[in-house]
Amino acid sequence: MLITASTLTIIIMLIFTQCTYIIQTGIGIYYEGLEALRHRISLESTAIEIINVTPQSNTTIYARIKNTGSCSIPVIQFNKMEIFVIGTLVNYTYPTVIRVPFDQSSIREEGWRVVSVYTNGVIGDVLNPIDLPSALSGKWDPLEELVIIITLSNKHALNLTHPISVVFVAPNGVSTVEGGVQN
């Protein structure tokens, strides 16, 4: 009787341990899957479009970029966005690429900053407003357009008789490209 009882107890304990392990693993996999799905959804719901690119001088370019996706991009992630300017430098004949970092406070010689935000063609944004000119808080929400100014150093002054293009990359790697000519 005692032998049967102890054997049964051990078997029940083993089954219980195994069930606990299976449930724990299952929950872990479920959460990992959920996180991966969230990441994938964020990638697929991010879309941006450069509306226009207008060089003002050979070191200054204005660009208007629209959030055409369905998710917002917080201002604190702007330093994880990338801008590349493709153009031909003065005194050169072949095009080159210049990576321009985010620099809202214009500390660097070269950088890009947000000048204004438009919503449906009207200046300003109501939803999660971006506090300009500091741009320390707020979000770039869907359908909002950022007007940005890209400042290049004199070393990277562009020859505007050649075409230029701007590549804009979101923090998650989603990118868009648009060319521009001087007005």
Binding site: T7, T25, Q77, E82, V97, R99, N172
Partner: protein
């Protein structure tokens, strides 16, 4: 006769009790040995599963993307890569990545660093938290130094990280 019978019953009860006790102890020992073996086997399987799941999770969460690449001179190509995964990549593992570059029809493996060309090296251009690790959303810039002048045509780049995941990019030169 009665005395003998009583004494005999006592002896039978006593022998039976001892035998049962020995069998019980043997059974308990056997069950314990079985349980220990079974449990250690179960834990080994459990650990192997956990390791496999953790590795799979790490591989799934580690992803990079070439966001742009272009020649900046006749022999130098710049490649910008963004960590678009959910895991950070230690800087010492970036150098262990594999880079392939060349014309679309004949690309070759480019060694990391070294003194002879071709070679590639990298630098962080967007290490937001300055921790020396390639965190999600951060960007590195790779410079490929090519021994010959790049000719007109299509060029192919493949960058494979230590997990084996890779990202491709193509660009053309029209000069």
């Amino acid at each position: 006769m009665i005395t003998v019978c009583v004494g005999g019953n006592d002896a039978v009860v006593s022998t039976s009790f001892i035998s049962e006790a020995i069998i019980m102890i043997a059974a308990i020992v056997a069950t314990s040995v079985f349980a220990t073996t079974f449990m250690s086997g179960l834990y080994a399987v459990s650990d192997a599963n956990k390791f496999a799941i953790s590795r799979m999770e790490h591989e799934l969460k580690t992803e990079v993307k070439i966001i742009f690449a272009a020649p900046v001179s006749e022999t130098v190509i710049k490649v910008w890569l963004k960590n678009v995964g959910q895991s950070d990549i230690p800087s010492e593992l970036i150098g262990l990545s594999e880079l392939f570059f060349g014309s679309k029809t004949s690309f070759q493996h480019i060694p990391y660093g070294g003194v002879s060309l071709p070679r590639w090296y990298y630098e962080f251009v967007n290490d937001v938290d300055d921790d020396g690790r390639w965190d999600p959303s951060e960007t590195i810039e790779i410079t490929i130094e090519w021994p010959y002048s790049l000719q007109k045509g299509d060029y192919f780049i493949r960058f494979a990280i230590y997990t084996g995941k890779y990202t491709d990019f193509m660009f053309s030169i029209s000069r």
